[in-house]
Amino acid sequence: MNSVGEACTDMKREYDQCFNRWFAEKFLKGDGSGDPCTDLFKRYQQCVQKAIKEKEIPIEGLEFMGHSKEKSESSS
């Protein structure tokens, strides 16, 4: 799968490979410590965050998991 930053795709794939291994073999089995992918993640993030800024993708200031208020059918 491609990254939104064309230059970041290889870094993304490298990180993904590392993450998927750690996720299945360590994290899901209860061992969430010692993430071996931090360096790869840092490199990948530097690249992709730059691409996001350049493309002006509005990901800033958005609350994790969206707004927590109740959703209703009524119009407001």
Partner: protein, 220 residues
């Protein structure tokens, strides 16, 4: 006004297989509309949960009539954020996904909870809720309000006009008083129309800024 969706799916695989597959599902033969995928945030919490934010870009496929109505939207892909919490201790995962552009036209929000199937512990259940909304509803309400207000002010003018001409036909000379009354009625009608326009403008801008306000409320 929001359209609501509730659904449930079952995957005949165990929860750990599903959670691992969640991060590897793109690309697949059914995801030709997904153009890019990136993790833009990830952390492990002190209580051993994995928080992630994934940025996706997808093609913006609209029916022909929508392309004609919203030509400005056609050229741009859709940016979507997918937030997730993986809780391996409780064997559950929760996701929240929504679009961060084209929001003035339509917002689709989806919340999923993945857990072990209660009937078969080797299977995984997905409970899915979604909300589809559009600020265009606010615009149509403003148009209606304005139409009704302008109609009412025209009714006032109709009656005043009738009274004027009836008085004239019934022999009363069009005195200064009658002409002044007609002038007053026109002024009053103008004021009513102006007040109605202000109200409609206010409703329309409320509808437009409502989404903006919601975005601002999210600011951490």
């Amino acid at each position: 006004m929001v359209k609501y969706f509730l659904g449930q799916s079952v995957l005949r695989s165990s929860w750990d297989q599903v959670f691992a597959a969640f991060w590897q599902r793109y690309p697949n033969p059914y995801s030709k509309h997904v153009l890019t995928e990136d993790i833009v945030h990830r952390e492990v919490t002190p209580d051993q949960k994995l928080l992630s934010r994934r940025l996706l870009t997808k093609t913006n496929r609209m029916p022909r009539w929508a392309e004609r109505f919203f030509p400005a939207n056609v050229a741009h892909s859709v940016y979507i954020l997918e937030d997730s919490i993986v809780d391996p201790q409780n064997q559950t995962m929760t996701t929240f996904t929504w679009n961060i552009n084209h929001a003035r036209l339509m917002v689709v929000e989806e919340r999923c909870v993945y857990c072990v199937n209660p009937e078969n512990s080797g299977w995984t259940e997905i409970r899915r809720e979604a909300w589809v909304s559009s600020s265009l509803f606010g615009v149509s309400r403003a148009v209606q309000e304005f139409g009704l207000a302008r109609f009412k002010s025209n009714v006032t003018k109709t009656i005043k006009g009738f009274e004027y001409i009836l008085a004239k036909l019934q022999g009363e000379a069009p005195s200064k008083t009658l002409v002044e009354t007609a002038k007053e009625a026109t002024e009053k009608a103008k004021e009513t129309a102006l007040a109605a326009t202000e109200k409609a403008k206010d409703l329309a801008s409320k509808a437009a800024t409502k989404k903006q306000q919601q975005q601002q409320q999210h600011y951490v």
